[in-house]
């Protein structure tokens, strides 16, 4: 298969980027999208040019490293899959393919197609954890979790933090990511002691990072490789409102 590639190239965060055109040949049905870029890069290296920088790690759809907006689709045109799980058989021979990085002020371009998603790490640092007693391993099943709750928490925990929600959102909002991470822990008994603090802190951090607000376009859910439901966003809204109310009551009690 042959393709005409239109790839975003940018030397660093500060410099202005632009599209470069590349012709690529010798691609088979079995090449994944990232393998196709590998072939391109090998060609570029041999001819003494700078290879295209893109993020990748596990290449089996679970690490959340790969990104890319392919022909206008976040993680490519395949539903519920990361870019690494996209194969060239999804494209027609000779097709022109445009590749762009995630676009968000909170995700500055590092180089070419790689963006800095540390903003997500800072949201997690703000409250995406539970404090546990260290020492000997606790007895199994010492904390009972209902099957329905465990399933629901797992649905939220399926988030791999790739940033597709931000990339797909017309407002570059990180609500789906934050909602998944907050709700994952807020649903479980282990997450209860820090529930309000977690909710307030993670939302505050999300806002501080410069992500947009949710206007319910539902583009995030459609782009999410793990099909995380926007219902979690509503649940986050609910958790935040009640956390704020309790925090207010708390302050008026302590006079703080």
């Amino acid at each position: 298969m042959k393709f005409k590639l239109n790839v975003w190239r940018q030397a660093n965060e500060k410099s202005a980027g632009g599209f470069e055109k590349y012709d690529i040949d010798g691609i088979t049905n079995d090449h994944s999208f990232l393998e196709m870029l590998d072939v391109l890069n090998e060609k570029l290296i041999v001819t003494g040019k700078e290879p295209v920088v893109f993020d990748h790690d596990c290449r089996e759809g679970i690490c959340g490293s790969c990104s890319l907006v392919v022909n206008g689709h976040v993680h490519g045109p395949q539903e519920a899959a990361t870019t690494c799980q996209l194969h060239m058989r999804k494209f027609t021979d000779g097709e022109e393919i445009t590749v762009e990085p995630w676009r968000a002020g909170a995700f500055p371009v590092i180089r070419d197609l790689a963006v800095d998603r540390s903003a997500f790490d800072r949201i997690i640092q703000a409250g995406g954890y539970v404090s546990v007693r260290t020492g000997a391993a606790p007895d199994a099943n010492s904390i009972l979790v209902g099957k329905d709750v465990a399933d629901r928490a797992m649905d939220a925990a399926a988030c791999i933090g790739c940033g597709a929600c931000v990339a797909a959102c017309p407002n570059a909002s990180a609500m789906l990511f934050t909602a998944a991470k907050v709700r994952h822990l807020n649903l479980l008994p282990q997450g209860q002691p820090e529930k309000d603090k977690r909710t307030i802190r993670m939302v505050t951090q999300m806002d501080a990072e410069g992500f947009g607000a949710c206007t319910n376009h539902l583009e995030c859910e459609a782009a999410c490789p793990k099909s995380i439901s926007t219902d979690f966003i509503g649940e986050l809204n609910r958790d935040l409102a009640s956390a704020m109310l309790r925090a207010r009551a708390d302050r008026s009690f302590t006079g703080g």
């Binding site: 689709h73 762009e100 676009r103 992500f211 219902d231 409102a241």
Partner: protein
């Protein structure tokens, strides 16, 4: 030995005293302001539509309704002040959010395609501005009657000395451009209400997977009903049912 006169705040207290402790400082809180103020305005729109439909009961019904409102200041100014607060909150918050959202993506996509969103969701700001401009014109036209000379007859009062709403409406809808502006505004309003109606459940966290479909289809039904209710009047005037 130094005795601390004030202990250090605990991590919990430090977190709880952040600026964002006020809900409306968060983007989520701002969306809740949009939802609640929108809900108030939604209620007004439905009340207004029902009020308008009294035109089908004849001049005395609708003019009498107007007279009742105007002769009950607590009702009139109660409604007006509530609406004013809701409009200011809705508009100011919307402008803030739009600015924030535009700033959140400084470099635009070249190829990005929409997958899930719809026209109503994408044009909320535009339809909102359309409605706002229409409201200004609408107040100037019917409430204050300052648009005389634009081609339609404006009668301040009827034979009972009540505001002659009936004939002002009929005369206005006999002017084609006036009807066109009205229809355009109603289409913008219905789209705005459709997205707002289901979106507010999400923003307020009142969503649930069991009810989401019902909420979405009810939003379509309510928006359509409002559209039909408001457009029934010019249609009736056009066909001479109301004259």
């Amino acid at each position: 030995m130094r005795i601390a006169d004030k202990r250090e705040p605990t991590e919990y207290e430090a977190c709880m005293s952040t600026r964002a402790l006020s809900l409306t400082h968060t983007t989520i809180g701002k969306k809740m302001v949009m939802a609640i103020s929108g809900l108030v305005l939604f209620g007004f729109v439905i009340g207004h539509m029902l009020g308008n439909l009294q035109i089908f009961l004849g001049p005395d019904a609708i003019n009498g309704y107007s007279h009742t409102l105007h002769s009950t200041p607590i009702l009139l100014w109660g409604a007006r002040s509530t609406l004013l607060v809701a409009i200011v909150a809705h508009a100011v918050t919307a402008i803030g959010l739009v600015r924030l959202n535009r700033a959140a993506r400084p470099v635009a996509y070249v190829s990005k395609k929409d997958v899930a969103t719809d026209y109503a969701a994408k044009t909320m700001f535009l339809s909102g501005i359309t409605i706002a401009l229409y409201v200004v014109y609408h107040l100037a036209h019917l409430t204050y009657g300052v648009t005389k000379g634009l081609g339609y007859q404006h009668l301040p009062v009827d034979k009972n000395n009540w505001p002659d709403v009936y004939h002002n409406v009929v005369h206005s809808f006999q002017v084609p451009w006036c009807t066109a502006v009205y229809v355009l505004a109603q289409l913008a309003l219905s789209m705005h209400l459709y997205h707002g109606a289901w979106s507010l459940f999400q923003s307020l966290g009142l969503n649930h997977e069991r009810y989401n479909e019902t909420i979405r289809s009810s939003a379509v039904a309510v928006a359509m009903a409002v559209c039909v209710g408001f457009l029934a009047v010019p249609i009736a005037v056009f066909f001479g049912v109301v004259k």
